[in-house]
Subunit: 318 residues, 2 copies
Amino acid sequence: MFNFGEAIPFENQTNDVLTVGELLVDMIANEYGEDTACNGYTRYSGGSPSNIAINVHRLGIRSHVASAVGKDGLGGFLIRGLQSAEMDTSGIQQVESSTSMVVITKSQSTPTPIFYRGADYGLEYNDELEQAVINSKILHFSCWPISRVPSRDTVERVIEVARKHKLLIGFDPNYHPLIWPQDEDGVAYVKSMIPKVDIIKPSEDDAERLFGPGTPAEQVGRFLALGAKLVIMTLGKDGALVSNGRETLAFATRATRIEDTTGAGDAFWSGLYAAVVKGYTLRESLELGFAVSAYKLKYTGAVVNLPALEVIQQEYNL
Amino acid sequence: MFNFGEAIPFENQTNDVLTVGELLVDMIANEYGEDTACNGYTRYSGGSPSNIAINVHRLGIRSHVASAVGKDGLGGFLIRGLQSAEMDTSGIQQVESSTSMVVITKSQSTPTPIFYRGADYGLEYNDELEQAVINSKILHFSCWPISRVPSRDTVERVIEVARKHKLLIGFDPNYHPLIWPQDEDGVAYVKSMIPKVDIIKPSEDDAERLFGPGTPAEQVGRFLALGAKLVIMTLGKDGALVSNGRETLAFATRATRIEDTTGAGDAFWSGLYAAVVKGYTLRESLELGFAVSAYKLKYTGAVVNLPALEVIQQEYNL
């Protein structure tokens, strides 16, 4: 049960945030244009688990990533990227499959992201992962690892251990039919995860993909009816609606200048996690999450050079 | 039964060469270097079926490609590439899967090609494909489409119809463990295809992956023992050894200047097919195949701007 005016209590642990899931290469067209217009692409590190792990480290708390990449040049590229951001990469498994990739063609006439799933869903449960869970305060994952086996089985076991050890569990219900196997009802599976976690942060698009159309308040009610404990429904420029089931608060956006929206959601998660670990109340932590997201929006890239949380707190007068 | 001194008889058809199989994007690093050295990539059209189809069209005979791409920007790119090479694209199926891709990192320290299989093996058998087989003189395929279902089932049905209608069948036994499902014995399956086709063109690497080490003559003998009718064993700078089971001929390479080896094998197939369709004897056709390959080696790219076969014949004094 979440109270907006209280801090979330944590036991002492050797790690703060454990993120589990997709580590990807984003292969992004250098220019906007039709299918044949741009043949030049640039690769970037991608995937919310590593984005959030790097962000919270910069904000001033500890993090650990559990992901799987291939034994190939792109897997090496992702591992070296984490290392250069000072991350421990002992939780990165190298499996017999191509490193997962998303190609973004930036075409106006066709669906833009093209998904190449490979190594990411090969993430296996092992003793090291179990220890990482037991040693952490917060567990975070998105729809990617639960969309396929064996990583789905891995996440299910991770959640079990996390609940037993009373971790705070955050889940990004970013359901997308293209990452799910075609013959499976991903919507039903995502809904079945809601009561097993503590915090969810759906966007309006996420909610519509899961429930069909509805007002933000209606969508929040649908998540609560499924057993959600804290729903953070983001509304773009209209801020967010947050409900703990008894009380629903509206938050205004803190964005002043929008340079690039990529990674804004991961920046919110990062600010929220850093703040709750640092002992801010839930309401303060939500405000800090929105402030970190607003800070990120001023810069280009999924992961930007965030300062310590306290610097952002000052900048946004919180 | 092949006789080197005779032309291969064909019935009149509305098409000459039908290629069936992989249509891919090759995403190639712009520079050589270690994993992290080069973030810039350029996309190219790839896959031997389209390479051969375009080549033989330029050499002066007719061709048709049957392949599958995704309903995405990269699929559109591949289709438009074929169209700009004046190819009929009615045999290109668009399926619910990402367009297949090969990423080539050009790193010296890690295995270079990274395979992303998607739409290519979704190729379905249908009435149009059956008509394309019946209307053609030659069928060509490689290991890609037979490595996975449903395209494997499609190729098996295509072969059945091709044999019934007496097409000449060429098969590239370019077996690579990374394109095969990990839990399947791809070597055994590839060997089982040998007696069902007419012409195979293994490289030394192909032979070693299938049989283990051996001299070129030993490897040719192993293919013949499996029921091969015409084995063209390519030996790089040492030319090729060609056997019809009764007689084995050595061919010297015709290469004078080597700018880029990409697509040299497909250029050989293209010259051979164009020549047999034009009524040259098998021995002449093999010489013309090696001449087209030598011509291609002088230029960069998998598909180069080949002139008519007769121009190459003159250039190489054949």
